[in-house]
């Protein structure tokens, strides 16, 4: 019997290389991710995890193969924009928050892109900030935050427009062990609470093992292993 859950990510024989094909990164990879799954792309640095996440997020386009994210082909600019605005949230290893802006101003950025009403945005910011414990930091500038607080802010920003799919690229990579565990726990809790599908790129086995599925990425190839 087939899985009744909706397919969020469908990749079939996707290939990606850089420098005009001289640097192959992904070799005909196939992947299906369904609603509510927490999937770990686990592998060493340079294995192709981030490239796959960029393809799924429409930050880059594949050379070959079929790709559909939330039912949209990210090869067209229009679809990429729709995906980024309505369906996807990104968390990066380096938080990628805008320096000099306050936490609240940073969290407002995705709402500005879609002209979301201010009041609604403010309520959503308070809700998310409360859930990750940074509501007392909303008026602070990014440079005044700790690494963990910055990453929690980045998670809130990714979830602001209630995406269906969260793509997290080594979200704990720049944090110490304890803070990393806290941030991962928060990410997992929030994803479950908000019923968001998560694809997480990580090189840390402990975080991969805490996911529903582990997909090992090695030399640009995928290989599903039991959690």
């Amino acid at each position: 019997m087939s899985d009744p859950r909706e397919i969020v990510v469908h990749a079939h024989e996707v290939t990606k290389s850089y420098d005009g094909g001289r640097i192959p990164v992904l070799h005909e990879v196939s992947l299906t991710v369904r609603t509510g799954e927490l999937v770990a792309l686990w592998g060493a640095s340079g294995s192709g995890k981030s490239t796959l996440l960029h393809l799924l997020g429409g930050l880059d386009v594949p050379d070959r193969g079929e790709l559909a994210v939330c039912g949209l082909d990210p090869r067209t600019e229009e679809n990429r924009l729709t995906l980024r605005r309505r369906h996807l949230g990104f968390v990066f290893q380096l938080h990628n928050l805008i320096p000099d802006l306050t936490v609240e101003e940073n969290l407002r950025v995705p709402a500005l892109a879609i002209n979301r009403p201010r009041r609604e945005t403010a309520a959503r910011i308070r809700e998310l900030a409360g859930q990750v414990g940074i509501n007392h930091r909303l008026a602070h500038r990014i440079q005044d935050l700790s690494g963990g607080e910055r990453q929690r802010t980045a998670i809130c920003r990714a979830l602001l427009n209630s995406p269906r799919l969260l793509l997290a690229d080594e979200p704990t990579g720049s944090l110490d062990e304890r803070t990393g565990a806290t941030v991962f726990g928060l990410l997992k809790d929030l994803a479950e609470r908000e019923r968001i599908t998560v694809v997480l790129a990580t090189h840390e086995r402990r975080f991969a093992e805490a996911c529903h599925r582990i997909i090992r990425v090695r030399d640009g190839r995928l290989d599903e292993i039991a959690p």
Binding site: H54, G57, L59, D60, E77, L81, R84, R85, R86, F90, F92, N96, L97, I98, D100, L101, E105, V109, P110, A111, L112, A113, I114, N115, R116, R118, R157, N161
Partner: protein, 370 residues
């Protein structure tokens, strides 16, 4: 568009850069305002000299400048004899010098000239204008900078004149000039019986075409132009106006380059940030709007500062005694509108490349690059 709220945030974050861009536009605005206001004021003053209580201006045909125009006594008489004419006043323009003041405008006029009636006499009497030989009359600003009073003797050119009177006129050129009775001026400038122009007041303004046609047919050596027609065709006015705008636009181009430089620097240092905006759902268009918005705010700031600077400078220039009252700034709404338009066009032009560059930043590439 909520994206625009980021414009102010970004400018405040990069306030020094924003201030440099604003200063570039402000200097352009101030330069353009000052130059054009002075030129327009000067043209206005000259027009008022020519149009003093008259409808038509008559001068020698095909002459490059009114200073070289000669309208003879017979031609003046012919003008006065025309049935459409109520009054005709010949004026001879010349330049005289006094110790320490090498260029002073001299007006040769008749005692019946309306500008004498309109003037506020500070010394001497209008009725005595031209009665005694060897007398010169001074505009009040000229009297001030020449340090002369009624009854004093004044060295003008190679001659010496007694100051017969001092009067104040509203026109800066006239007020900073000296007046001689027409015949004295003709002798002084060796112009025979010629005047430079004749200002003509008609009995009925509607008979202008009849006057013009009749006069030009009878006196082919002269041309009669309605005042507004003269203002729009006189080459010197055109050249002055063009020069003013050209210098102003050049000043603005420098301002535009400063905006371009500032915006480009701003974009280059924000590549990663712009990539993040794209990841968060900003479209290329929204990124471009952001950059153009920043340029527009810089232009608006430059306009406010520039107008402040320009008006302050004009106020100072109008009060500098060395300018002999020749600076009478005239700020026309059209000039203000032109400056506002030029500021936004310049800032917008300066932002085209930065906006294009910013809107083409590919997020993944920008992140890898960083």
């Amino acid at each position: 568009m909520q994206v625009l709220s980021l414009v102010f945030t970004n400018l405040i974050r990069h306030r020094w850069r924003a201030m440099i861009g604003t200063a570039g536009i402000a200097f352009g605005v101030a330069a353009m305002l000052t130059i054009l206001a002075i030129i327009t004021g000067a043209i206005g003053m000259f027009q008022r000299i020519l149009a003093s209580d008259s409808h038509y201006l008559v001068f020698e045909r095909n002459v490059s400048d009114l200073f070289f125009s000669s309208v003879t006594r017979e031609q003046v008489a012919a003008i006065r004899a025309r049935p459409e004419v109520e009054a005709a006043h010949p004026v001879l323009f010349g330049i005289v010098s006094a110790p320490d003041h090498p260029v002073i405008t001299c007006f040769g006029i008749e005692a019946t000239d309306p500008r004498l009636a309109k003037a506020e006499w500070r010394a001497g009497r209008r009725e005595e204008f031209g009665v005694r030989e060897g007398e010169i009359y001074l505009g009040s600003r000229a009297a001030e900078f020449l340090g002369a009073r009624g009854g004093d003797t004044l060295a003008i050119g190679r001659g010496s004149f007694r100051v017969g009177g001092v009067f104040k006129t509203e026109n800066g050129f006239e007020d900073g000039g000296v007046f001689l009775p027409l015949t004295e001026a003709q002798k002084f400038f060796h112009r025979g019986d010629a005047a430079s122009v004749v200002t003509v007041k008609l009995r009925d303004e509607r008979r202008g075409a009849e006057f013009k046609g009749g006069l030009e047919a009878a006196q082919p050596g002269v041309i009669a132009l309605e005042n507004r027609e003269f203002n729009s065709t006189y080459n010197s006015f055109k050249i002055l106006n063009f020069t003013g705008w050209a210098v102003g636009v050049c000043a603005f181009c420098l301002g535009g380059l400063s905006v371009a430089n500032t915006m480009l620097l701003s974009v280059f240092t924000r590549i990663r940030e712009i990539a993040v905006l794209r990841v968060c759902g900003f479209s290329s268009r929204q990124v471009a709007v952001l950059i153009f918005g920043e340029a527009a705010v810089v232009a608006a700031g430059g306009l406010v500062v520039g107008f402040g600077l320009g008006f302050a400078l004009l106020a100072v220039l109008e009060r500098v005694p060395q300018f002999h009252g020749y600076v009478q700034a005239n700020v026309e709404p059209l000039v203000l509108l032109g400056i506002v338009g030029t500021a936004f066009v310049t800032a917008g032009g300066g932002a085209i490349y930065p906006a294009r560059f910013a809107s083409r930043i590919e997020p993944a590439e920008a992140m890898r690059y960083e």
